[in-house]
């Protein structure tokens, strides 16, 4: 049950494209996440796949068959909504049985499938309850059970966990993932939460500004972000993006204070360098040796998150072990100690300088010095 998106586009009013040129191949049995900030068009894309809104351009193939203009019920898929879309007047069993009844399945088969689905989501004791008598997590399971009962292998999910509290959300992530594997479902999962996407998905599509930014496995997305948007969207705390200018042959000066040696020639004058907070080393310093100053201090338990200001005024986020204690106003010396992502002026990734090792495209292993 593979899904093929071929240059899909959506315009509500002529010439006003909310989505453009969206292409992807989703393998059978894959957990595919679509991630992006609100308003990026991710829900729109999901609804286009579901058939709830018409596709303006491009072609959609489901299981190798063109489905661009099929009505939703003929696309052999099911959908779980953010609001769960449960029928408040029906019991749990009847909610799960809704689609089967609409499709006029024989009663015996309906019962069997419903029982199995309810069993799978552990709601046996709640079969006869109405949705209003269930907790948020239970309602979520009913919605899942409904999708499962339909027995189709594609399931679209539109932010299904966002209405749950934080702990339950984490628990449900695992459950969802296990269920998906167990049933061999192809899941397209829309979320605005990068952690959810990272922890659950086989592949992630990052949407922003009406277009795809990157498609890849969670690791690829995290380790090789295609541009500054992807780089800063994934990872907590966020990656620092520092302005950099070329100061010498194969050397960049970040935020007017940090020097970064690079393995290849630099054809233009200005770059942006991305540094995750854990790729920066922090030391206390005396006033004359310091290149940054603490602005806020957040204790996260094992770590401390510092917001600081570089000498030239650029804000920067830093991580340090919790043993030390910092106060606002403390002076620091910040040094590079990990991967540095070099982006061009338009934000496109150029190469990666890795704690002394430089990755640029396939060309790895080039040595690079890191100056403090």
């Amino acid at each position: 049950m593979a899904i093929e998106l071929n240059a899909l586009g959506k315009e509500y009013t002529a010439g006003n494209w909310v989505l453009e040129n969206v292409s992807a191949h989703i393998n059978s049995g894959e957990f595919f996440a679509i991630v992006g900030p609100s308003g990026c068009g991710k829900s729109t894309l999901l609804r286009m796949i579901a058939g709830l809104i018409p596709i303006s351009a491009g072609e959609l193939k489901i299981d190798d068959q063109v489905a661009t203009n099929l009505p939703p019920k003929d696309r052999k898929l099911t959908m779980v909504f953010q609001s769960y879309a449960l029928f408040p007047f029906l019991s749990v069993s009847d909610n799960v049985a809704f689609g089967l009844k609409a499709r006029k399945f024989p009663a015996a088969e309906i019962k069997e499938r419903v029982d199995r689905a309810i069993d799978l989501v552990n709601l046996n004791e709640f079969k006869d309850r109405k949705p209003r008598d269930l907790s948020g997590g239970q309602r979520q399971r009913v919605a899942l059970a409904r999708a499962i009962a339909s027995d189709v292998k594609i399931c679209l999910m539109d932010e299904p966990l966002s209405n749950l509290d934080a702990q339950l959300r984490i628990k449900m992530r695992t459950e969802l993932r296990n269920l998906q594997r167990e049933l061999g479902l192809t899941v397209i999962y829309v979320t605005h939460d990068q952690v959810e996407a990272m922890t659950m998905a086989d592949h992630i599509m990052v949407l922003h500004n009406h277009a795809i930014q990157q498609i890849g496995t969670p690791l690829e997305i995290y380790n090789q972000p295609a541009n500054t948007f992807v780089a800063s969207f994934f990872g907590t705390p966020r990656m620092n993006l520092l302005p950099a200018r070329v100061v010498g042959d194969r050397e960049l000066l970040l935020a007017d204070t940090l020097r970064l040696a690079v393995p290849s020639d630099l054809p233009v004058a200005d770059y942006v360098v991305g540094l995750r907070p854990n790729a920066l080393r922090v030391m206390r310093a005396s006033a004359d040796a310091a290149n940054a100053q603490v602005k806020t201090v957040e204790y996260l338990g094992s770590d401390i998150l510092l917001e600081a200001q570089m000498a030239d005024g650029t804000p920067i986020e830093l991580m340090t072990a919790a043993e030390e204690s910092y106060q606002v106003g403390d002076r620091l010396t910040v040094a590079l100690a990990g991967k540095a992502y070099v982006f061009n002026h338009a934000g496109q990734a150029q190469f990666i300088v890795e704690g002394g090792v430089h990755h640029g495209g396939n060309d790895v292993n080039t040595k690079a010095a890191v100056h403090a």
């Binding site: 609804r47 579901a50 058939g51 709830l52 009505p71 939703p72 019920k73 696309r75 898929l77 099911t78 959908m79 909504f81 953010q82 609001s83 879309a85 029928f87 408040p88 007047f89 029906l90 809704f98 689609g99 609409a102 499709r103 109405k130 209003r132 409904r146 339909s150």
Partner: protein, 317 residues
């Protein structure tokens, strides 16, 4: 928090005197509460008593008497007024006419109102205009509506007859033939009701969450199936409300009847309320009219109760 919510249980049984005093105190408090309740409720009770309870009891009382030419109860006849009424063929005819009218009005109002609302809920160009039109009858007074419909049903100059003439249909004397007259008053009443019903049902339809339709569309439900298995159950509380309101309203219809047919022809539209009016205000027969009022009130109460008993169970979720 949990401590505050649970009632603290006494550790040990208090001594008898203490318990007695406690009891006394709580009793005093109780009595005071009663006074307070009376003081606050007094004015509204007074108003209710004077304008609601007294007239109700008085009606009940009058219904057991014959009344003389100045409306005073003179001869106690027990339930004879009721017996006479219920055995009179004219009153039975009135009951029957009322039943036909009420059922016709309630069913037509709900069905047409729902149809209009369903149409208006779609997002089409210029739909706002239709919504205004559909709800417009809410602002029309009974007398204006009566004149409007009298004109439409009028023989020789009426709209229906003009259309009939064009189509070479036989002339229908709408308001002077019993069957068509009933149809005519039902149509007019339904028309009057539509504005309100439309607006309420339209509001209810708009409140149905869109994902329910999307989910059911994906699950394979046709629009027809959606209407009966999603829309109707979702708006059933509102349907229940409007049906009750329309039913009670239909039982109490007076203005249109009085202005259009005055109970005629041949008493075909002589509804129960109209009979009350005739007996009380034309014939000056307050005893009989009171008995009729009581019967009407009982019937309305019964129907409302039945509706609550049977329908309410199905509509709450």
């Amino acid at each position: 928090m949990a401590e505050m919510m649970s009632t603290p249980k006494p550790q040990s049984t208090p001594k008898p005197q203490v318990a007695e005093r406690e009891k006394q105190r709580s009793f005093n408090l109780h009595v005071n509460d009663k006074y307070y309740a009376l003081a606050f409720l007094g004015p509204s009770l007074l108003v209710l008593g004077v304008f609601v309870f007294y007239p109700m009891l008085r009606t009940l009382y009058l219904s057991l008497f014959l009344t003389n030419n100045v409306g005073r109860p003179t001869v106690f006849v027990g339930l004879k007024n009721y017996v006479n009424l219920l055995t009179s063929s004219a009153y039975q005819a009135s009951l029957q006419a009322t039943a036909v009218y009420v059922i016709g009005v309630v069913v037509c109002t709900l069905v047409i109102g729902l149809l209009l609302a369903q149409m208006a809920v779609r997002k089409l160009a210029g739909i706002q205009w239709f919504r205004t039109i559909f709800s417009a009858t809410m602002g029309v007074s009974v007398s204006v509506a009566a004149i409007f419909w009298l004109f439409i049903f009028s023989p020789s100059v009426g709209l229906f007859d003009q259309i009939g003439k064009l189509l070479h249909l036989p002339l229908v004397q709408w308001l002077t033939t019993p069957g068509p007259a009933m149809v005519a008053v039902i149509i007019s009443t339904v028309w009057m009701n539509l504005g309100f019903t439309f607006l309420i049902l339209f509001g209810a339809l708009q409140m149905v969450p869109q994902p329910l339709y999307e989910a059911s569309a994906i699950e394979g439900a046709s629009p027809r199936y959606q209407f009966f298995h999603v829309t109707l159950p979702m708006i059933s509380p509102t349907l229940f409300f409007t049906s009750t309101v329309t039913l009670i309203g239909a039982f109490k219809s007076f203005g249109l009847i009085d202005l259009m047919t005055a109970g005629g022809p041949n008493n075909a539209t002589n509804l129960m309320v109209y009979q009350v009016y005739r007996d009380a205000f034309l014939n000056g027969n307050y005893g009989l009219a009171s008995a009729e009022s009581v019967i009407l009130a009982v019937i309305i109460a019964l129907f409302t109760l039945l509706q609550f008993k049977f329908l309410e169970k199905r509509v709450t979720y």
